[in-house]
């Protein structure tokens, strides 16, 4: 291996060293009096806006039923093959519901294509960014973890209507 050479030619001022140190110290001093943007996570939590793409969730309507009709378009469009849906028949007017809806969070890349393709506005990206699991099986989120009441997703749904038409 050849030794790396420093390419940059330092100017005289830089070579004197002390003024550069002073410059740096000045910057630090200035920042000390600015308002802090650092959050003391996890004690203080970051609250994203509606445009944030956290983990995808299923919308549960006021009547306690998921909007999803298990059309499988999200599973088809998912570039990472994270979504697996099994449809079944229901007596409700929508005829079809997901008997099984699983998102493998190890596969999910948070691209939001599932949300974009959904004809029912049934799967949306939430604000939830805290995803912790200790094995592969726990990484597969079923309907129990995916269903979220529509009230909790209002901000995202408003954002989608406003900007994605």
């Amino acid at each position: 291996m050849t030794e790396k050479k420093r390419i940059k030619n330092l100017s005289l001022m830089e070579r004197i060293y002390i003024p550069e140190i002073a410059k740096g110290m000045w910057l630090t001093l200035k920042t000390m009096f600015k308002p802090s943007v650092t959050l003391q996570y996890p004690e203080v939590k970051f609250e994203p806006t509606g445009s944030y793409r956290g983990r995808p969730v299923l919308v549960k309507d006021q009547n306690e039923v998921e909007r999803c009709v298990a059309c499988g378009l999200c599973a088809r469009v998912c570039p990472a093959l994270a979504i697996e849906v099994q449809a079944s028949e229901t007596e409700l007017e929508k005829e079809r519901y997901p008997q099984k809806f699983e998102i493998n969070m190890l596969r999910c890349i948070f691209c939001g294509l599932c949300e974009e393709v959904c004809p029912e506005e049934a799967i949306v990206m939430s604000k939830d960014y805290e995803l912790v699991f200790s094995n592969r099986d726990d990484a597969i989120f079923g309907k129990d973890k995916l269903l979220v009441p529509v009230e909790n997703l209002k901000e995202r749904l408003d954002f989608l209507r406003k900007f994605k038409g």
């Binding site: 059309c71 499988g72 088809r76 093959l81 697996e84 079944s88």
Partner: protein, 553 residues
Amino acid sequence: MPTITIDGNKIDFSQGQTIIEVARAAGIEIPHFCWHPKLSVSGNCRVCLVEIEKMPKLAISCATIASDGMVVHTNSPKTLEARNAVMEFILINHPLDCPICDEAGECKLQEYAFAHSRGESRFDEIKNRKEKRVQLGPRIKFDGERCISCSRCIRFSDEIAKSNQLTFTNRGDKVTISTFPGESFDNPYTLNTTDICPVGALTNEDFRFKSRVWEMSSTKSVCVGCARGCNSEIWVRNNEVLRLTPRLNEEVNSYWMCDKGRLETFKHINAEDRISGTYIRKAGQLQKVEWKEALDVAAKSLRENKSNEIGFVGSALASCEDNYVLLKLAKQMNINITAFTNHIVTGDQDQILIREDKTPNSLGAELIGLNSNGVDLIYRMIKDGKLKALIIVEEDLGSLSEDWEQALGQLDLLIVTSTNSNKTTALADIVFPASTYAEKHGTFVNFQGRVQRIMPAVATEEEDRALDGMSMSRWDKFGTKFDRWMQGRKVDAKPSWKILSLLAAYLGIKMKFDMAEQVFEEISNTIDAFRGLDYDVIGELGAKVKINEKIKI
């Protein structure tokens, strides 16, 4: 020969053909909903309108007879405008049900709406409401809103199934399809209407909502429901067969398939009672053992019997390859007692497809050299105590009658290869798990003397979708062992010919077959009826065997 010009191509045709037929034969697709090559022309969907020079108005190509010198444009501005208008008209009352519709992905209306329409609706009013989820018959659900009134199903049940059970009722935009009062749409061919329905109005009750069509892989195969051997396609997802559909073969089944064949010939493949792994009877109980041990014990106990006390029973449910290897093994062991049995349901036959013989390969087993009358002899020999050991390949003799069940119980040694557990395996001393027709390569000979190939659609433990060249869905292609859809059940089974050639090796008999194709090669080299045939010659549509007069069909 008269010629017609379609889109600038001069095409020869024979007198009496319609424009759409001539175009189709030449590979030019004219959009159509109500026209079907096997049904009468009704001309009600109007989407096949084409411009014909020197004709004042556009004409529907399905009902216009081609004549010499005609110049037809299927893509002129005038045609496209008319086609778009027709599509817009049809879509006015068609609900946007695609997300919940089983037809999505193989829907003619969806395809044409994508390819031939304006892509936008100008219809602001409320769409027509009609009855949804109507139970037309025991196997069919009908959705009135989705129906575009093409009348294909009505014409099918009148002309092909000859049952006259369906009709239009009401008029105008209220028109809908129903059965005649008091009738149920229950003829043996009803499910074909779900295939020919250009939209998702008629759905298969059994397959309803099971899977999207694009999630499955399809494999060309042959139905095993009867001696007709309808060409079929096996649709598989997560290594599970979800449905069968007919495949076009003019010589055998045309576009059709009976409901029984479609629904009842695949359920056993993923049934709970599939045999997986080898079993040996120890202390009165069948216990799972390694292949090695089972083969070892089988070979040892066969050696303990004299060759004139051993019988081999093949099967009309097994492929030609299975029966051939069985017969070859019998010959090498100097065993003369070989047979198979027919499964004939007298009277259960019609002029359309269904045959009395309920096995796919009785002619094949006969051509290979098995005797269909031999089982009676075997029965008598067991009863007389002359036959002490029996090898049965994929045949459930125990279910034939109580006498047979008793007879099998008398045997000293009963070796069985079987796909599912049944009365015969319950009596067996050694059970080998056989692959079903959907898990192996092989050939069946149907009642016409047509050899047809089956191909693996479901992987067993010894098979790998990618390495064995099986058809794969997108999920199969990109799945890893950690994905749940890749963890579908795989049965530890082998084709019977493979089990038998393994057994031969343990008996010290040389029989080197690695692939079904090698077995068939030997069949075609040694048996006259199969001479000149190989898997490539048989291909997807089958080939005729040469039958001499000795064998009656």
